[in-house]
């Protein structure tokens, strides 16, 4: 334990404080709970943290921090491969940006045969629930957030994953090169979760940063993170009328599919010219919306929610930062104002939106990029252009470099793709840590391609398989050679 206190000096102060604080949390009043579903069964005693005993809520094989696309995949796959697994989620639903952030649909990897078994299974389960994710034309995954989160609950339950909702990662305990516990804030107070292997799928590399893994954030040239979005849904839309106006009257051919799979878009910063730019430009001229609000507007129908569209906007200006807590907070209020302005403008001027209303705000901001670790392998822009392949690849993608406001690349030639190596999921510093999702080891520009949800799911899937494999074979997570795992056990095998 001594070593874990040796990192930043002020950690000691937090520990002292936390220890003292724990008194209040642990010394519950005279009335004891008689909870029939309690932690008692899984309690593994206490650990000394900051001079005080705090409860160990779980002591397991694999602890996954973050229940988004990658973390949920990682937890399910680790559990299916025999690991006793805990999944820590900050909110009360699994799915992360797809569910809490209204980020819909899943973008297309543009790579042939990129669906790993887990991704294919999620799509199959959507179909079982009556949601057909295939629009017949594109490879976007049209889902339904409320169904997706239910499916994730089901998959976790079947695999025996212990999901800990409403729980925030606070700190880590590192001994030598090993992460031995993470400290979490639950509704009841501070607690520890011990595990043999940890998976950081926080999106913000939170666990990794806490454990001393080197990291980067933002674009090297400007220091800016990718812009945040504050997505929302609108109900009461006459999609038939909207289709008639946009696809027929305006002759916009952007959306290749037809209702119920329908999309409208305009993005003034793109080379492509969209028909709806005129509408938004008029709003700027009349003073009803700002240039920032007009810059980017996109909306998708949601399968199973007739008359509801998922709004891929507002995009909050890059002067707000995804990595600064005060700036991030200001972005929320700024974004909410933009949201209401865009909604009001569409209601007033876009045929089909006459009776529309905001039906739901996202419960988390859409962070495209925040922190990225520097792991054993560092992916860079050239890996995209030269379509790099790796023996230890965990998945493939060809989503273009989509760095809003900084750089938008050409698509790769049809059939082209690059791969993501297992080496970019693990670090030199912490042997029992795997990183999954948008915060893996990659440059700002490359991350702008690998950050999309299906790719994050495939990365998480591999992380879960690797975590369980390593534990079974007594190989440290950062020493695993993915290519040495038997192909039939792997979710992806590089050709």
């Amino acid at each position: 334990m001594g070593k874990s206190f040796s990192i930043p000096i002020s950690r000691r102060d937090f520990m002292k404080m936390a220890g003292m604080a724990a008194i209040g949390v642990l010394a519950e009043g005279a009335i004891g709970g008689t909870d029939t579903v309690s932690a008692a069964g899984s309690k593994a005693g206490t650990i000394n943290y900051g001079g005080k005993e705090i409860p160990v809520l779980f002591s397991v094989d694999v602890c996954v921090a973050g229940g988004g696309p990658s973390g949920t995949a990682a937890a399910i796959m680790a559990a299916r491969n025999g690991a006793k697994t805990v999944l820590i989620e900050r909110g009360v639903a699994l799915g992360g940006l797809a569910v809490l952030g209204c980020v819909y649909p899943f973008m297309d990897t543009h790579a042939p045969d990129s669906d790993t078994p887990y991704v294919a299974e999620v799509k199959a389960r959507l179909r079982q629930h009556g949601i057909e994710p295939f629009d017949g034309v594109t490879q976007q995954t049209w889902h339904n957030p409320e169904t997706l989160t239910l499916i994730y609950d089901e998959m976790c339950s079947e695999a025996g994953v212990n999901v800990l909702f409403q729980t925030v990662v606070v700190d880590t305990v590192v001994e030598g090169q090993k992460l031995t516990a993470c400290i979490v804030q639950t509704i009841a107070g501070l607690a520890a979760i011990q595990a043999k292997t940890f998976i950081d799928s926080t999106g913000d590399a939170y666990l990794s940063r806490s454990a001393g893994v080197p990291y980067e954030r933002g674009y090297e040239k400007t220091g800016n993170n990718q812009p945040l979005s504050f997505r929302f849904e609108m109900g009461g839309i006459d999609v038939g009328r909207l289709y008639q106006h946009v696809a027929v009257e305006l002759q916009e051919d952007w959306c290749k599919s037809k209702p119920p799979y329908f999309e409208i878009a305009e993005a003034m910063h793109r080379k492509q010219r969209y028909k709806l730019e005129d509408l938004m430009a008029k709003g700027v001229a009349s003073g009803e919306i700002t240039q920032e609000e007009a810059e980017y507007m996109q909306a998708y129908t949601i399968i199973g929610k007739n008359g509801v569209m998922s709004m891929n906007c507002p995009e909050i200006p890059v002067k707000f930062s995804a990595t600064d807590p005060v700036s991030y907070s200001k972005a929320v209020a700024y974004g909410r104002r933009m949201m209401h302005n865009i909604a009001s403008y569409l209601i007033a001027h876009l045929p089909g939106f006459e009776k529309a209303f905001i039906s739901r705000e996202a419960a988390m901001l859409g962070a495209r990029e925040s922190w990225r670790i520097r792991g054993k392998h560092y992916l860079v822009e050239d890996d995209y252009h030269s379509q790099s392949r790796f023996a230890d690849a965990v998945c493939r993608t060809a989503w273009f470099i989509d760095a809003h406001g900084e750089k938008v690349s050409e698509k790769l030639p049809k059939g082209g793709y690059y791969e993501i190596p297992y080496g970019s999921l693990v670090t030199e510093e912490v042997e029992n840590l795997i990183v999954a999702g948008r915060c893996i080891s990659a440059s700002f520009i490359l991350q702008a391609s690998m950050r999309i949800q299906p790719t994050c799911m495939s990365i998480g899937e591999a992380a879960g398989i690797a975590a369980a494999w390593g534990l079974k074979k007594h190989i440290a997570a950062n020493a695993i050679a993915w290519d040495k795992i038997p192909p039939e056990k792997r979710s992806y095998v590089s050709k």
Binding site: I7, G24, G33, E146, G223, S329
Partner: protein, 507 residues
């Protein structure tokens, strides 16, 4: 120390530690923290400059906390409001708890509530549209706040007063010095950060700040040890409101509507407005919902409590005041149990939605359009403060010189209906004393909302949103007053604050 600096990139971590931020982030005209960025993760406390400093730090942006922050700022205090999610309103916005219950006490609306109602009216989403008086529905607090506008209006109120809102920040600790709180520690996107203030207001609902600083707390019923049951609320869209109304009135003969509310619904439908439609599991409709149980579409747990309300401004949407997760099985004060309740509740929600779609006319094309992003917790932890509210205060309609608000909402325990708690007769009400918001242990702490000082039964009455707002409002005023007069917060005599400055004056 050596270890952390032996890795090449940690120079950045060091720079942040000394408050310099990374190179990239300091360039350009970015909107960043005025002071230092948050700490590197794992670091906090004395070695760090504070992330934010203020006169008053309010933790929790729900009904009570937002009122406290806005009211303190209106009285001149510099305020930081810490919110775990990304919207203000707490259960009303994130928890889908709609509408506000009535206080059943005339004159209970304090100025903050009146102001909020006016602001919602100005947004074009009147909180009172089609709200009627009846013998069973009267008094203050009966507002219907559209969640998506409430979060916007709260932000505007904060912005006008210069309240700094720190979103996506979870309270994880606090620092004290003697009998005072000096700082609270929050987990932000960047890591742990410290917020310093002179006065702290605990609006967490779970008495989290109070528990961190050692205030004595209670949880659950004194008799059973159980908390009140939790809900996981949701909204459904695609509903034909007229058909639903006629189904319950004409086919099920629920007998719930008064002639006046009937007329308002018919008028609204004629005008193309959203009528205010509600349905409930009650004596007249119990058979209908029980039918779902006998057919295997619902479980017994699912039908314990069923209620739905239409939402003004969201024409085909209803807010579902269910499912209620069984109190016998799940606890709002146990982290693991709470987590299991979420998944259990989600399954209940899906069964209820499927039952509605299949069996209620008007729901043929309905769908779940939104799940709550926080669990509906009625009761978790309550502090033991200077005054401890008890059922007696309700039953005997106690008044106090230092009262901060009034209410007559019944002792509403969802777990076990305890008949001994009779409803107050119309016109009677009790008051909540300022002393129920302060503690003996910490001189600069106020506790507002559902976790104020009271027994399980007393809290079952004062827990409703308008009462929480009024408590928060008074706390904000008192915090600013105490600072301006140099009086310890837990020594303030509310009744000695000039009447013109108080939000509520006991008669």
């Amino acid at each position: 120390m050596e270890k952390s600096f032996s890795i090449p990139i940690s120079r950045r971590a060091f720079m942040k530690l000394v408050g310099m931020g990374t190179v990239g982030v300091l360039t350009g005209a970015a909107v960043h923290s005025s002071k230092a960025a948050a700490a590197p993760i794992g670091a906090s406390g004395k070695g760090l400059p504070p992330l934010l400093s203020a006169d008053v730090c309010v933790v929790g942006g729900g009904a009570a906390g937002t009122a406290a922050a806005v009211s303190a700022a209106r009285k001149g205090a510099k305020v930081v409001l810490i919110e775990r999610g990304i919207s203000l309103g707490g259960l009303a916005t994130q928890g889908c708890v709609f509408p506000c219950m009535p206080t059943f006490a005339e004159g209970s609306d304090t100025p903050y509530i009146t102001d909020l109602n006016n602001r919602m009216e100005k947004q074009g989403v009147s909180p009172f549209q089609d709200v009627t008086d009846s013998d069973t529905f009267y008094g203050g607090g009966r507002a219907r706040y559209v969640p998506e506008y409430l979060s916007l209006v709260y932000e505007e109120m904060c912005a006008e007063q210069g309240v700094d809102i720190l979103y996506n920040a979870a309270l994880v600790g606090a620092q004290t010095d003697g009998g005072r709180i000096t700082a609270c520690i929050v987990q932000t996107v960047a890591g742990l950060g410290k917020v310093e203030a002179k006065v702290f207001i605990d609006g967490t609902g779970d008495a989290l700040l109070s528990r961190f600083v050692g205030i004595p707390v209670e949880k659950g019923s004194e008799k059973t040890g159980r908390n009140q049951p939790m809900s996981l609320r949701f909204e459904m869209g695609g509903i034909d409101m007229a058909k639903v109304y006629h189904f319950f009135r004409d086919e099920l003969k629920d007998g719930w509507k008064t002639p006046l509310s009937d007329r308002l619904i018919i008028d609204a439908l004629k005008d193309g407005r959203t009528p205010f439609v509600e349905f409930d599991k009650m004596k007249t409709t119990a058979k209908f919902f029980q039918g779902g149980v006998s057919r295997g579409e619902l479980t017994k747990d699912d039908v314990v409590y069923i209620q739905a309300f239409s939402i003004p401004g969201k024409p085909d949407v209803m807010s579902m005041n269910c499912p209620e997760m069984p109190a016998l099985e799940f606890s709002s004060t146990d982290a693991v149990s709470y987590s299991k309740a979420v998944s259990f509740g989600r399954k209940m929600m899906r069964r209820l939605a499927a039952f509605f779609i299949k069996n209620i006319k008007g729901f043929e094309h309905a769908y779940i359009c939104r799940e709550a992003s926080m669990v509906g917790v009625r009761e978790s932890w309550r502090i033991r403060g200077k005054y401890y509210m008890e059922a007696e205060d309700y039953l005997k309609a106690h008044h106090f010189a230092d009262a901060v608000c009034r209410t007559a909402y019944p002792i509403d325990i969802h777990d076990v209906k305890l008949d001994l708690f009779k409803k107050l007769k119309k016109g009677d009400y009790y008051e909540i004393p300022y002393r129920a918001l302060v503690t003996n242990e910490m001189s600069n702490l106020l506790v507002v909302g559902r976790c104020a000082s009271g027994s399980f039964a007393a809290q079952a009455s004062f827990r409703i949103q308008p009462t929480c707002m009024s408590m928060g409002e008074a706390a904000g005023i008192a915090a600013a007053w105490g600072l301006s007069q140099n009086v310890a917060i837990n020594e303030i005599k509310w009744e000695e604050i000039p009447e013109s400055m108080r939000s509520y004056v006991s008669k």
